[in-house]
Symmetry: C2
Subunit: 409 residues, 2 copies
């Protein structure tokens, strides 16, 4: 373990900027109280953020009897950040200001035949060009582009190590992107993107330990531990979708059996719908989005088949979430991604009830389970915050991300 | 999240002392290289440890062409630490020097009728008195007493919040111990004790992320993440024993069904033995220790019933360990506690083979699975290191542990 003084200073920079974005204007004294850092440390970090032009001085406030306190605020127009969500059927790109507001958005459909890396990268490049043009920010203002790609990602080499849906193995994605995009690039996966999105702007803000449960086509958990992202030694942590919950149960696309994803991923839910209510009209064969939208409507209308499918799904989902509660003892569990959004409050209600039957009393009492409060695409937002974090790192390391990556044999 | 500058300095103190205990004598330059901290930071921390008399200056070594470098070593006789392992059938107490060598040991049997807190505390007090007398160190040299008690522990109030075997709920254990023991007391559970033991002296030393799998009567995982213990928000993290692995499976003593512990805890293994080989002579009814010892002998002698029972147990154990690998992506998984010791290398061999069939390729390739290398009771050692960590914390907070705890309603 090498957690260096530089790492700690970087983490503190993130924390101070997060607080300023959450609440602008604010004073150094408020920041010290909110972060637990000393006033001297906060003053140094604020000075660095001022030098980076990410924040600005915006005046003074009176303090009771003392000297007026200087106020700082995020310098929203001081730069732009781009977040790219490469999903299995689309590429979505959003451009943000430094206050993490969306200024422009572009979507590209990826058709089932377009599984070659070059094809996907072509869509990314087109959409990045589109958001820069639409926002009218000028390329020079873009501090970085964060890219989320499904599966496992090797950040040090820029490889998409394993993307199950396209059967990509060790695709040199960063190299390919570098041919089209000249801004600093930061590659990671949707689990970690949605976790940092919650950490910067959502339900994990100001929390030490949070688990962000991603419910989509793929399923996994983004882990915020000790106030920062837990990546694991090979950047593969959080593969909750492939933890066993029914030994020798349903086959899973990972090759295993009885994985959480086989029951609660979008395909697993569609399978349950075929088993419980094939003739109900809820099933849209081959179309996960339409099927989940129909299930969400059915839930709100108390359709018995929709209720039965969601209750059966929640049997597995709640046991899997209770496992996370018992293992991590987090302050909050956040349900994120498009399946959670499609099923919404009725899903949350069922999950809360069922988790209470599985989890141990003490960690259960200490946690809350919520839907992601982020109104836009959390993966784009999280990918953009990777670019923001990259811009906050001391110069010299940042450029590592941009250099042509070494190839693995 | 409030990770303050003081927390970081405390964590760095632990890290530097760990390195000195691992390798004495050593220089500030070596410590800086090993920890990634700056030489100035290391010099400050070494100065603090010298002031605390936990280390001493022991001379100089030549450095190529430069000034001779000062060497420091752990000051083994600078204090004593006591570790208490309250288990379900015994109390074991060990006294350590500051190099974490055992100087004295005392065991007390706890008979099945003695489940009252006062009775257990009586055994602890007797054994603590015995080790101080045997080691001849004098009470004044004892820097603290770490106490491990099974179940869930509220460190801020000193309560044994829930001890399943004795059905203890919110027992004011720290209060009761304070009536007999005047040294600073530090209360926690065996999961966390065995994890810090591996961190200070075992397979997790120098590692960022390690999972210590405790296999005993109870089952759980001690979590070392980011180079430190992950406790969770209510100090309940690591309840892997009560994660579901077979939805609706065997009943568990927690009230749930299909928990890992129901299959791989000592009682679960005895149940499997009754199912697969009741007449084999391996089963010692009502005696977990004798039964597991017989199974261990049977494994080494390739007894078919012993092999079948261990393979059936490993089906569940390996799926549970693969879940930990997929979730945490650790550098090392350590098998600890008495069931792991009783079954030893043959268990490890079966586990490694079976985990490889369940875990995802990338995190599996990045981790190793080992038996605990700690030759003595890891829970006593870990409990003693809690006392050592307490003595390393800045004065003012340490005394918090000793004050009469507040009662909960
Ligand atoms: Zn799977
Ligand atoms: Zn259980």
């Amino acid at each position: 373990m090498k957690r260096t003084s530089r790492d700690i200073r970087t983490a503190n920079r993130y924390e101070v900027l997060r607080r300023i974005i959450a609440r602008s204007p604010t004073s150094r004294q408020e920041l010290a109280a909110a972060t637990g850092l000393s006033l001297a440390t906060v003053a140094t970090l604020v000075g660095e953020l001022l030098d980076l032009r990410m924040i600005t001085e915006v005046g003074f406030e009176d303090s009771a009897g003392g000297r007026p306190r200087g106020l700082v605020a995020v310098h929203a127009s001081g730069g732009a950040l781009i977040g790219v969500d490469i999903a299995e059927t689309y590429v979505r790109v959003e451009l943000f200001d430094l206050a993490l507001n969306v200024l422009a958005r572009a979507d590209e459909d990826v058709s089932p035949g377009e599984s070659l890396p070059e094809q996907v990268v072509g869509h990314v490049a087109a959409a990045v060009g589109a958001v820069v043009a639409r926002a009218g920010v000028g390329g020079a203002r873009v501090l970085g582009v964060g890219v989320s790609v499904p599966g496992q990602v090797d950040r040090s080499t820029g490889l998409a190590a394993y993307a199950p849906n396209w059967d990509w193995h060790d695709v040199p994605l960063l190299d390919l992107l570098t041919e089209h995009i000249t801004h600093p690039l930061y590659l990671d996966n949707p689990l970690r993107a949605s976790a940092v999105a919650e950490l910067w702007c959502g339900a994990a803000r100001g929390r030490g330990d949070a688990v962000v449960v991603n419910l989509g086509t793929g399923v996994g958990a983004g882990l915020v531990l000790g106030g920062g992202l837990h990546r694991g030694v090979s950047n593969s942590a959080g593969e909750w979708g492939h933890t066993t919950i029914v030994l020798d149960g349903r086959p899973c696309r990972c090759g295993g059996r009885g994985c959480v994803e086989a029951y609660v991923g979008a395909s697993g839910i569609m399978r349950t719908l075929r088993e419980l209510g094939a003739g109900s009209g809820l099933l849209h064969p081959g179309d996960q989005t339409a099927t989940l939208a129909a299930l969400g409507r059915g839930l709100r209308e108390r359709d018995p088949v929709a209720l039965a499918v969601v209750r059966e799904t929640v049997r597995y989902l709640a046991a899997g979430i209770a496992n996370l509660v018992n293992l991590f003892d987090p302050e909050v569990v956040v349900l994120s991604s498009w399946v959670a959004a499609a099923l919404g409050e009725p899903l949350l209600h069922e999950v809360r009830e069922a988790v209470a039957r599985h989890a141990l009393h003490r960690p259960l009492a200490a946690t809350e389970i919520v839907l992601s409060p982020i109104p836009t695409d959390p993966v784009c937002l999280g990918a953009a915050t990777f670019a923001l974090e990259g811009a906050l790192r001391p110069v010299g390391r940042r450029t590592l991300q941009r250099a042509a990556p070494a190839r693995r044999l």
